[in-house]
């Protein structure tokens, strides 16, 4: 039985996992970098230990230090969250070798699925449909060879890093002349993100949707799927909005994709939580993309519609307990959607935004859940992923969910930094999005940010800005009139405060 869990992560996912620990009566141990001393995961943990400097290479990627801390403080298990060390098979093995419980899938499955080219091969052998593509296990294919093969495959196509995930090291290529540059860019990004510049190419399925199946298994061979998630709203291969169920997946397709996903998982003797990602074309043919051998960012929407607490099941099954659910217990009820709230400025080409959070109101009320890694007064630093919070909403129908999401987004107030909240509000107002007519190109092809010209809103903005300018004018005039008086000192102080905060 587990009693004390070290959560080898930060931000919203560390908070999420600690909540599950506390609700199961386990103690949670946080690790943190120098930049994260005041972060919520440190404050809510029962224990917290410093790793080192802010850079991830000095902190959250230091598997050796993390295992050392776990042993010293008497933790009996490590949950890696996602990112950082979550899909590092060597780390998982070191955890197990140190006599600790690894709260995740078998290291061998992580290793097999971690190389996307190898994963394609295994999945193909297991009878899982694949996107046509070119790659060879364990080998670097030269740029020239890739370019030659590309002409056989035909355009458009996708250059993908063999290692890693999370949308990094990927490039869409629509015409032959862009291919050499795309290969170079993908290699560069892959090298920087994963230390491995191997890439391969795949046919790009047009008008495709990104559909994935959540898997959950125990160490006794029981494994089930929890239905699908649609994650077609992406920007540069980064998911921004996810929903479950998908507007186009019916019960029949769900069961078909689910059983293929289970077949694939069984091919690598999988247990714990994991996800099979597929592309779904307009004719509802689906093709294996990759497997994520970890808890995913978007797991919460599946929790909302199935009632299964995926993190608690990971914790329970990690200590050898049996899954609490059978396939027949899993019923999708209602409609869940997630918006990822990022520290990025949608009005400025999604430039990352840093600074202090000087105001924060999380939306609440019926059907609203926020999984968040931020707090009032927290400094957002440039060292980590820009995901601040996940806004997750459940409604009876997709229509109710979209309205509820819009209402919750309007309530969500983060001041001090720029966020993607305005983008999400505009997406909820898009009639195409409302109609569920989305694919992975939607955000970049069928939607334009900030094309709002509602005359009433413009008038409000004009009035508000003018009044603020007027107020400042008046104050400036008074400040310049002479020596200090109590009133003027007060005014000056206020100005100062505003500038500082």
């Amino acid at each position: 039985m587990l009693k004390k869990i070290l959560v080898a992560n930060r931000g919203e996912i560390a908070v999420r996992i600690m909540r599950a620990c506390q609700e199961l009566g386990y103690e949670a141990v946080a690790i943190y970098s120098e930049a994260d001393r005041l972060a919520p995961h440190v404050r809510m943990a029962q224990e917290a230990y410093l790793l080192g400097a802010p850079q991830i290479s000095e902190s959250y990627l230091r598997g050796d230090k993390i295992i050392d801390i776990a042993k010293k403080c008497g933790a009996d298990g490590i949950h890696p969250g996602y990112g950082f060390l979550a899909e590092n098979a060597d780390f998982a093995e070191s955890v197990i070798d140190a006599g600790l419980t690894w709260i995740g899938p078998p290291p061998q499955a992580i290793r097999l699925m971690g190389d996307k080219v190898a994963a394609r091969e295994i999945m193909g052998k297991a009878g899982v449909p694949l996107v046509p593509g070119v790659g060879r296990v364990g080998e670097t294919i030269s740029d020239d060879e890739l370019i030659a093969s590309a002409h056989e495959l035909g355009f458009p196509l996708l250059v993908k890093a063999a290692a890693g995930g999370g949308g990094k090291g990927m490039r869409n290529v629509y015409q032959a002349e862009d291919l050499p540059g795309a290969i170079r860019a993908a290699r560069r990004e892959a090298q920087s993100a994963f230390g491995d510049d191997r890439v391969y190419i795949e046919k790009l399925i047009k008008n495709a949707r990104h559909i994935e199946i959540q898997i959950l298994g125990d160490t006794h061979g029981n494994i089930i799927h929890l239905g699908e998630r649609e994650c077609s709203i992406q920007r540069r291969h980064q998911k921004l909005i996810e929903e479950s169920p998908s507007p186009v997946v019916d019960e029949d397709l769900r069961q078909k994709m689910g059983s293929i996903a289970l077949k694939a998982a069984k091919a690598v003797n999988y247990y714990s939580a994991g996800t099979m990602e597929f592309v779904l074309d307009k004719k509802k043919n689906f093709y294996f993309l990759e497997m994520n051998t970890r808890l995913q960012v978007e797991h919460a929407i599946t929790e909302m519609v199935t009632g299964v607490d995926i993190v608690k099941e990971m914790l329970r099954t990690a200590s050898g307990r049996r899954l609490r659910y059978k396939q027949a217990d899993i019923k999708v009820k209602g409609w869940a959607m997630e918006c990822r709230i990022m520290a990025e400025d949608p009005a400025n080409n999604f430039m990352p935004s840093i600074g202090k959070i000087i105001g924060l109101t999380n939306p609440t009320g019926p059907g609203v859940r926020v999984d968040s890694g931020i707090a009032y007064g927290l400094e957002i630093t440039p060292y980590y992923d820009s995901l601040l919070s996940k806004l997750i909403v459940l409604g009876d129908t997709r229509g109710e969910t979209v309205l509820r999401m819009r209402r919750a987004l309007e309530e969500f107030r983060i001041t001090g930094i720029a966020t993607t909240i305005p983008l999400h509000i505009q997406l909820m107002n898009s009639t195409r999005f409302q109609a569920g007519q989305i694919d992975t190109n939607f955000l970049e092809k069928n939607f334009k940010f900030n094309q709002i010209s509602d005359p009433e809103l413009m008038e409000v903005a004009a009035i508000a800005a003018t009044l603020l300018a007027h107020q400042r004018n008046q104050r400036a005039i008074l400040l310049h009139q002479g020596g200090p008086s109590p009133w003027r000192l007060y005014g000056r102080r206020e100005v100062l405060d505003r500038r500082i905060r």
Binding site: R188, E189, S192, A193, A343, E344, P346, A347, N349, M351, P352, S353, I354, I358, G359, P382, Y383, Y384, D385, S386, L409, E410, R413, T415, G416, I421, P422, L423, H424, I425, Q426, M428, N429, N450, I452, S453, D454, P455, L457, M458, E459, V460, A461, A462, I463, A464, A465, T466, L467, L468, A469, H470, N473, D497, R498, R501
Partner: protein, 165 residues
Amino acid sequence: MKYITTIGDAKFIIDVNHDGQVTIDGAEINVDMQQMFDSTMYSVLIDGKSHDLRMNEGDGVYAVQLSGAIFEVVVEDERTRRLAGLKSGATVTKGEIIIKAPMPGVVVEVTVVPEQEVAAGEVVLILESMKMQNEFKSPRAGKVRAVRVSSGEKINQGAVMVIIA
């Protein structure tokens, strides 16, 4: 005082008199604007309509965010117009452009060299921050006057990266 307030092509004449009376394009309106405790949020009631908005000012431009829209609002009165007149020698189309780092990061690649001609929109540099690679483009055509950083270099917020003339 009379203000000429513009959002893109839209223009509003807004008058605020000493009693706090406000007219927009000649029509009198009833406005109650309150600054919230976190100082960038405002609650505005205009003729009974309630709006909760966020407003930041930078370089004389007010960024107003409400109901998911982001408007860049320029407010001018007699005085600011005069100032604008004085400053107009230093606008983007003529002077030097200094591309600074908006946040600390690692330079992934500098794609230009000094003296190189660049087109408007051409990528000059890629900076990695928050696990993302961000491209910096030249806002107009010109010549690279200086490159102050190199690939792999860690730089601080505000560091000058590239100067275009």
